[in-house]
Amino acid sequence: MKILGISAHYHDSAAALVVDGVPICAVQEERLSRRKHDASFPAAAIDWCLERGNLGPGDLDAVVFYERSMLKFERILTSALRTFPRSWRSFPAAIKNTLGEKVWVRGIIASYLGVPREKILFTDHHASHAAAAFLAAPTERAAILTADGVGEWATLTTGQGVRRADGGTAIALAREIRYPHSLGMLYSTFTAYLGFAVNEGEYKVMGLAAYGRPTMVDRVGKLLRRTADGAFALAPEYFEFQTTATRSYSSKFVDLFGPPRDPHDPIDLESAEGRRFADCAASVQRALEDVLVDIARALGRETGLRDLCFGGGVALNGVANARVLAESGFERVFVPPAPGDAGCALGAALYADRIYFHNPDREFPDHPFWGPPASGDELARAAREDGLPVDELLDDDTLVESVAAALAAGRIVGWMEGACEFGPRALGHRSILAAPHARETRDRLNRDIKFREEFRPFAPVVPIEAADRYFDLPPGGARLARFMSGVFPVRPEWRSRLAAVTHVDGSARVQVLEREMAPRLHALLDAYGRRTGIPVLLNTSFNVAGEPIVARALEGYSTFRRGGIDLLVAGSTVVAKRAVAPAETTKESVGWWSESVAESGGV
């Protein structure tokens, strides 16, 4: 069967294609449209998936949307009614927004693809998360936990998944916590309060938390009450996300935590104000972790299972994931490479295949590389046209050795290989790599290449064979770190030599790499280890602040030309930067002083 999964309209739209039970490709719309967190209908992603699968829309057996849009509309309407009359400002905007496009999704899909309406199916939002987490995990039977801002009504669900001996699959989500009680909304509210963009800056809150102390956990406890049945509830008087689209926290929230940070003010961690913000971040982080650990522990007790599959946007919180692994009693925690809404495109397609159509379970590769490829030829052509030195058709050994030498010499490398990652993490196919040893490298990357806040940490990548030497991984830690989903301590004796990737609290969001997942990066780590004695590299996503991760070689090339990356690799092509940027001479060559503008007439 050929099934197309789609997620769209809220954030991170995506499409995924599953053929005969196996994913063929999956890509976020932002990687193709080049608009970060693009939420529009993923036309480009759908087109690319069909082209990649060599299919026309008529070949599809089903198209599955990742949530039930009318149920979501019901929640929006009910929420407006429940908060009447305070919701009077948000009501017109919410209705226009929803009725404008979102509820007509069946018609939009049918008209875009030209498929019969009966081929268009829907799954529950959290069932899509659960399927993305469980059906992609190498486990027979696992407890399932999903948590995000909100789906239709659910914000957190628990249940279990089973792969039966006869090939059948079952996913049963038994319980849920419903909107407006939401861990994701709680964290997003603090994200907005701390001056970061909601749905984008949550990982900045996590990074900032390491600089603070959880001195305000009691205050967070006023917002996030625990219920007698082991769940939680948000105290509505501290939040405004139900009544206005412009501010998610109330005046009472501000009374409790102090004035919010202005988004344009830099965070000065030396100042009392900066430390207050860090303490706020640390406190909400601690509260989130405590609740998740408790819920996971209870789930473990109820199910008696050893494995946990964790999906939803909250599963991007690596610090919390590591605590869940360490304290909940589960032996293994599986977080997919795209646990957020984008991953729901793949989850919905897999759910339809296994659950709706009762197709037998199929094994498929346990990697995140489902996106568009990067072409070395394309890179070589562009670089040659711009007069940059190009090395082409290098064999793998030569390429790996020369890149390892460049890294050991302190150069920063843009690394593109094969299909790009599906999900928000760069896991070795669209990465910026650098030596992990000096703090100056981190500062240079933040300042000259990524253009982002100085407090934010970078992640390391290490071969699985050497991971335990440098990082204090608990049992199951290597699995959680496969897709960079856990934050673990760097062993104290290595922290000074891994300063660029060791966060202020001595931790790192490490990627533990198995050779089969990315053989060439694994070889590069080995080669770098032979030269420096430490087979660890700094691995950060190949993009600059505000832009999506690059997909095609030319996107990598334009990022390379604009920033401080020294060396660019795509396939078997290596391009180095010249001392004088040719762009400088371009301005001269076209004669910027020319008066020809006057010829075009007035405005």
Partner: protein, 247 residues
Amino acid sequence: MAATRGAPLDRLMRPIHGWVWADADRRLRKLLAFAEVETDGGRDIVRAAEVTPDPLLRRLYLEHAIDELRHGDLFRARGAALLRARATRGAGRLAGNPLPGGHGLDDLRIDGEPDHRLLAFLHVAEKAAASRFTIYRELVDDDPETRAIFEHILRDEVFHMNYTYTQLTRIAPQRYRRHIWYARGKRFWNRYLRIAAAIAGIFGSAVLSAIYFLVLPPFAWLAKRAERREAPGWSARAGVAPPRSQY
């Protein structure tokens, strides 16, 4: 050059611009809005560099994009400095969604646009921006640092206007004037659409607000009553709905 004097329309609008720039809060908002628009525009032009098949245009677009991104940084830094210097802090007011306006180059979709159309559009847009910035530069005489930013940007705009024009004449020597007029028309049409959409939005909001207050109260009472019966905490999940159901 016309652009360095300010276009007649902009000179006509000078009192309104003066009103905007005279107030510290409005000046601050304007600078921060410019920061977003310049940055988004820079990203659009980066995209143009990535998709153009013309090597010279790729280099020029990249140079242009780097300028625009730098302008965004300059505006952002100045806005942040004014924000810090402001006597009454109003972070809460700016913390939600303070920045008006669309995305970059009038929500232009770069992919699929031929270079001649993009160059004509950029030329017209840069010229309009330069004209307006010339007026703004004069209006911030009391603020040397903001004025210096406009001076700096205006120098870049001359390059942007010139290269877009010369490259347009290179790739479309017979039809470049037509392309420029088409771009002007498109810009005018987009402006009309924005205004029309805004007016429609106001009407829509008014109708929905009327419905909200006139129709919803009894339903709101029922919804609140139902909510009171719901205990917070765990709920059992309903059974799986049929695959074709949106409910």
